[in-house]
Symmetry: C2
Subunit: 241 residues, 2 copies
């Protein structure tokens, strides 16, 4: 069998002997762009059934089919961590979604804060970035991108979930070692460029399960802060340990 | 005195009573774009003398002058950490330089590896990104971007400097807590997209002061790995402690 170099996300059940029909776009990518022919191997994942090695059994211009042969990796769901962030400029928002998916956030939640001026967020486009990041990074899970929600609503919906804040204006950051004693579901919240409003800040301070962390002496851009905070969390409580 | 919102990097000595002549570009930015007028305040830094509050004493279309009044922050040189990386696509290379400067690397070294196909690197353009990042992040130091060097040469020039590797193909990653006992000058080396060649890998393994670290179970893109590795280092040995 040839070596499978392409990893493809499909919205289709995967299992021993399963046949997977390809969409027109997928067929174009595999046969038109990547020039795969009958018998070529591809790695498939759907975010639920792990990673499967499949071979091309039908190749056409408008469609095709793959045959699942063997599971190459089981499903690995990342830790129960959400990344909540206030969308910024388009390129940096795309970047945050890509990085959050690579770094192993389970859910990505764009939040509308008082100082967010991103208007609408195209959830589908961001979800596609999360899929592409999963294809690239070898993950078998795809982070779920939600619709944008107001920060108030997002905080109200957290339930027992703890929150790690990154807001340089929040004084009294905790030592990250304090996080070590607090396993369970978590969210990381990255503040918007103009910071939180006074009203939001007061609300955040009232939250019992909130931990402010300090990410060094320089002010980080939101996209840098997202990757740094995910690193701190994954190293302390997540699957990097 | 009005509040200074603009931070500007200048190549000029800064000190009490010092007069700073502006270039045409700087004058255009301050007076044409930002619409500053006589008496307006600006924060200046030059990477050596800390941050100074200065006021506009002359404003023209092709030039102008500022008068340094008071030092607002002393020079803060980041820890003795270099980021060595194999340049990738233009946008991601720019991104790595920006992030390394924000995260507090003292020097940024593009390295040519066997599998690097970036051709030439425009040092001036990358240096400008490092300056812009320093203006943004409130730093008083500007990371120095060097010309691209061959990996062999870069490793030979390390001297006593220890190296943290991030190469998923390097097995037996050390626990990052092992780094705790090894202060001193360091470099972080981020592998190229195709990984290191066999020859390079052998060379790296022979280095006594090399530490391989594992950045989680997913494969990170080079730009993500750079931010994550800088976070790990700054938290363990750097100025985030």
């Amino acid at each position: 069998m040839s070596e499978a170099k392409i990893r493809l996300y499909v919205e289709h059940p995967l299992g021993q002997g399963q046949s997977v029909q390809l969409s027109r776009d997928q067929a174009h990518y595999l046969f038109g762009v990547m020039r795969l022919t009958l018998g070529a191997a591809v790695l498939l994942f759907n975010g639920q059934d792990g990673e499967w090695r499949a071979t091309v059994v039908e190749a056409g211009k408008r469609g095709g089919a793959l045959h699942c042969e063997v599971q190459t990796r089981p499903l690995q769901v990342p830790p129960d961590l959400w990344l909540m962030f206030a969308p910024i400029k388009k390129a940096r928002t795309d970047f945050i979604v890509e990085k959050a998916a690579e770094m192993g956030a389970r859910r990505i939640v764009p939040v509308q804060t008082d100082f967010t001026n991103a208007g609408r967020v195209q959830r589908d486009r961001l979800q596609a970035h999360a899929v592409e990041a999963a294809e690239q990074c070898g993950g078998t899970y795809v982070a779920e991108v939600t619709d944008m929600v107001r920060l108030d609503r997002a905080l109200a919906d957290l339930g027992e979930r703890k929150v790690m804040f990154c807001d340089e204006a929040l004084a009294e950051a905790e030592d990250t070692s304090a996080l070590l004693d607090t396993p369970g579901p978590w969210a990381i919240l990255i503040g918007p460029e103009g910071g939180f409003s006074e009203r939001e800040r007061a609300r955040l301070h009232r939250l019992e399960a909130a931990y402010a962390v300090q990410l060094g002496p320089r002010i980080l851009r939101a996209d840098t802060a997202a990757v740094a905070a995910l690193t701190v969390w994954q190293q302390t409580l997540g699957d990097w340990r």
